[in-house]
């Protein structure tokens, strides 16, 4: 029996085991607290006879929603009403993000322009938009809409097929035609083809060093293919023109003042921040980089594409992601101007059913899902951008 020479250390003196012990302790505490909160809430709700649980989701909502991307009426369930709200939030956030990134980049680049006027104008835009609270901007745009535009019967009619009034904007739109389905297919095919061309061009360049005009080829594909299909169907130009029927315009596509005001407010506000992010990104790339690129004979476009952007994007993407998340979250201010976004519908649901805890939990969960999925996508993109590092 040869005893080990090392003395047996009691577990409370072993830092590793102790750390684990502490972790378990903290976990138990948190779990206990959570249990206490949940059970306490449930008992009290029960004592006051306030309904709990998710059963209300299957009940008839009995309220109407102003705009919806899917068929909805007050005879549908709360679950469907909430889905309508969530889709409206997705709609305004998605369009808002795309427009904000587009305009933000444009203004950010304009801010760096060597043209004094352009740069100053961009600067003023950024300062003004950044400094006015977004809620105020929403009220402003909404009020502009209903205070200045005439009623539907006297709608402004600046060009054929376009009507502006205090009920929103109604526009002529292509009437549905079987060609559209095939045009969409052609568009998707063009996207796939463009990607294939891009892969092929890269490989060829790596092997032989020959450049290939990928951008122009892709552009030609993406525009050309659907156009070809459209022509093949005899170029159907049947337009669905909005007409004043009863109280409002019918036909074409229309956007409500609430939607336009919300989109405008969010996009102008966020694009000011995006512009600053873009400017910071571009300025973070040393001047020597541009000079070196010029010295080895790269063209202006190549300098931007191959030298500046890959480095600038690394700086731009993380704060840009946070701006996208901000826009999504700010879209909940829609409540103030009556756009039926998720919060608005959830608030009404809470009020009609009295189940605030479930409702607020739903609101939190939905925004968490939106934010996390944006983050996941942008992190993936960030990784790709970061890999360019050599």
């Amino acid at each position: 029996m040869a005893d080990t020479t090392t003395e047996k250390i009691p577990f409370w003196l072993d830092p590793k085991k102790r750390a684990i012990l502490f972790q378990i302790g903290v976990f138990c505490l948190v779990a206990l607290l959570a249990y206490y909160l949940v059970s306490n809430t449930l008992t009290n709700l029960k004592r006051q006879h306030i309904a709990t649980g998710w059963g209300f989701l299957h009940k008839e909502s009995a309220f109407e929603i102003g705009e919806s991307m899917i068929p909805y009426s007050s005879a549908n369930t709360y679950a469907r009403a909430l889905l309508v709200g969530a889709l409206n939030t997705v709609k305004v956030s998605f369009i808002g993000i795309v427009l904000s990134v587009f305009f933000g980049t444009l203004i950010g680049v304009a801010r760096l322009s060597s043209n004094w006027l352009v740069s100053k104008l961009a600067g003023i835009f950024i300062e003004v938009m950044q400094d006015i609270p977004v809620l105020l901007q929403l009220f402003f745009w909404y009020a502009i809409f209903y205070e200045t535009f005439p009623s539907p019967r006297q709608a402004l009619h600046p060009m054929a097929g376009l009507y502006l009034c205090n009920r929103g904007v109604a526009m002529a739109f292509l009437s549905p035609h079987p060609a559209h389905k095939y045009m969409l297919l052609a568009f998707l095919a063009a996207l796939v083809l463009s990607y294939a061309v891009y892969r092929w061009a890269r490989q060829r360049q790596a092997r032989k060093g020959l450049p290939f005009p990928v951008f122009w080829t892709s552009l030609a594909l993406i525009i050309g293919l659907p156009l070809a299909v459209w022509l093949a169907f005899g170029a159907p130009m049947q337009m669905d023109v909005p007409k004043l029927v009863g109280f409002n315009f019918k036909g074409g596509i229309s956007f409500s003042p609430e939607f336009i005001a919300l989109l405008l407010g969010l996009v102008l506000y966020t694009s000011a921040f995006v512009a600053e992010v873009v400017r910071a990104g571009i300025q973070s790339v040393g001047k020597g980089q541009t000079e070196a690129a010029k010295a080895i004979g790269l063209k202006q476009g190549q300098i931007l594409n191959l030298v500046i952007l890959p480095q600038a994007l690394r700086v731009i993407i993380p704060p840009l992601t946070s701006q996208m998340l901000n826009l999504t979250k700010n879209s909940s201010l829609a409540v103030a101007i009556g756009f039926p976004d998720f919060v608005s519908v959830a608030n009404t649901t809470i009020n009609q059913t009295g189940q605030s805890i479930e409702g607020v939990a739903l609101i939190m969960a939905v925004y968490l899902i939106f934010s996390l999925s944006t983050s996941v996508f942008m992190n993936w993109y960030n990784k790709r951008a970061a890999l360019v590092e050599r």
């Binding site: 009404t348 809470i350 605030s356």
Partner: protein, 338 residues
């Protein structure tokens, strides 16, 4: 902003539900020295701060009457302006002691929402307000109309039911803030504003051109508006309930804020009991014997409150209608004070 408020309320609900019912609301209110009343932020005649920032209105006076009953001082009320969406969570979570905010009594609110409704302080019904130039004569001609409506109200549901039952299409515009909603309507964002008809009259009276708007003849719902308290506190419920009844009873007995001191000498046993000259009723409620005297002295009887805030001589110019005493063909009827 609104969302944060709601989140806070929900969290508050979690923490406060435990404390709410432990001590009675009456004791809580006495301890803190004032009543926290949830009111509407902007309905002229019901609850709205005047130019000096003093809250005025029928609902405000109801809250003041409760304070007069509890403290003998009608000014001991703190008002919390709540939107329709915020009001019920605020009451459930214990942020306010009583809700006097033109809230319609419904079965769901009375049961699964965990609330109790006191005696009705205003009988209302839902109507439609339209601009005259629209040329609409009846609510049944509103197919395809855009309708401004407050979210989280019974009116929102009634409107949906009304249009559905008549097979008509409509487009709601729902804005949570009452004054924002009205601004949108009077600027022409909607063809129709729908709400309780007393409120429509109120909004019209403060609009830029009241003469350009007309109320349609249809009244599509019953809206008994009443003060609300939480489930599970019977004593507080009794105080609020009997305060409203005291307002009505005072009118029935002919006691007004002006003659209440002479009425103390009255020989009528009903008046003696009511004003606490013959003690007993106040004690039964957990209040002092002067409670009803204080209500009438400081706030007035129901008729005075009605006339002062919404009656024919005000900008609203409402008739008593359903809100007249039962002896005059109305529905205002207080249970016996004995």
């Amino acid at each position: 902003m609104k969302m944060t408020k709601l989140c806070v309320l929900a969290l508050a609900a979690v923490f406060m539900l435990s404390t709410v019912a432990l001590a009675g609301t009456l004791q809580d209110v006495r301890a803190k020295g004032f009543i926290q009343a949830g009111v509407n932020g902007g309905v002229f005649g019901f609850s709205m701060p005047d130019k000096k920032g003093v809250w005025k209105g029928l609902d405000v006076d109801t809250a003041r009457a409760i304070a007069a009953a509890v403290f003998g001082d009608a000014s001991k009320v703190k008002y919390v302006a709540l939107t329709a969406v915020q009001r019920l969570p605020a009451l459930q979570s214990g942020e306010i002691d009583v809700l006097c905010r033109n809230t319609t009594q419904t079965l769901t609110r009375d049961t699964v929402n965990g609330l109790n409704f006191a005696h009705v302080n205003f009988y209302d019904g839902q109507g439609f307000l339209v601009p005259k130039k629209l040329g609409v004569k009846s609510a049944k001609e509103l197919d395809g109309a855009t309708v401004c409506v407050l979210p989280g109200t019974t009116t929102e549901l009634n409107a949906a039911d009304f249009f559905r039952s008549h097979g008509m299409k409509w487009k709601p515009v729902v804005i949570e803030n009452t004054s924002e909603l009205n601004k949108a309507f009077f600027a022409g964002r909607c063809d129709v504003l729908t709400s309780d008809s007393s409120q429509l009259a109120a909004q019209r009276s403060v609009s830029p051109n009241p003469a350009n708007y007309v109320l349609l003849p249809e009244i599509i719902s019953k809206e008994p508006l009443a003060p609300v308290v939480r489930h599970g506190d019977d004593q507080w419920y009794d105080v609020v309930n009997w305060t409203v009844m005291a307002l009505i009873q005072a009118e029935e007995l002919g006691i007004t804020s002006k003659n209440v001191d002479q009425m103390l000498k009255s020989k009528d046993p009903r008046i003696k009991r009511f004003l606490g000259v013959t003690p007993g009723l106040g004690k039964a409620l957990g209040l002092d014997n002067k409670w009803a005297y204080n209500i009438v002295k400081q706030v007035g009887n129901y008729g005075e409150i009605f006339d002062r805030n919404v009656g024919p001589k005000t900008k609203l110019g409402l008739q008593r209608g359903l809100n007249a005493l039962w002896t005059k063909g109305g529905l205002m009827y207080a249970a016996p004070f004995r």
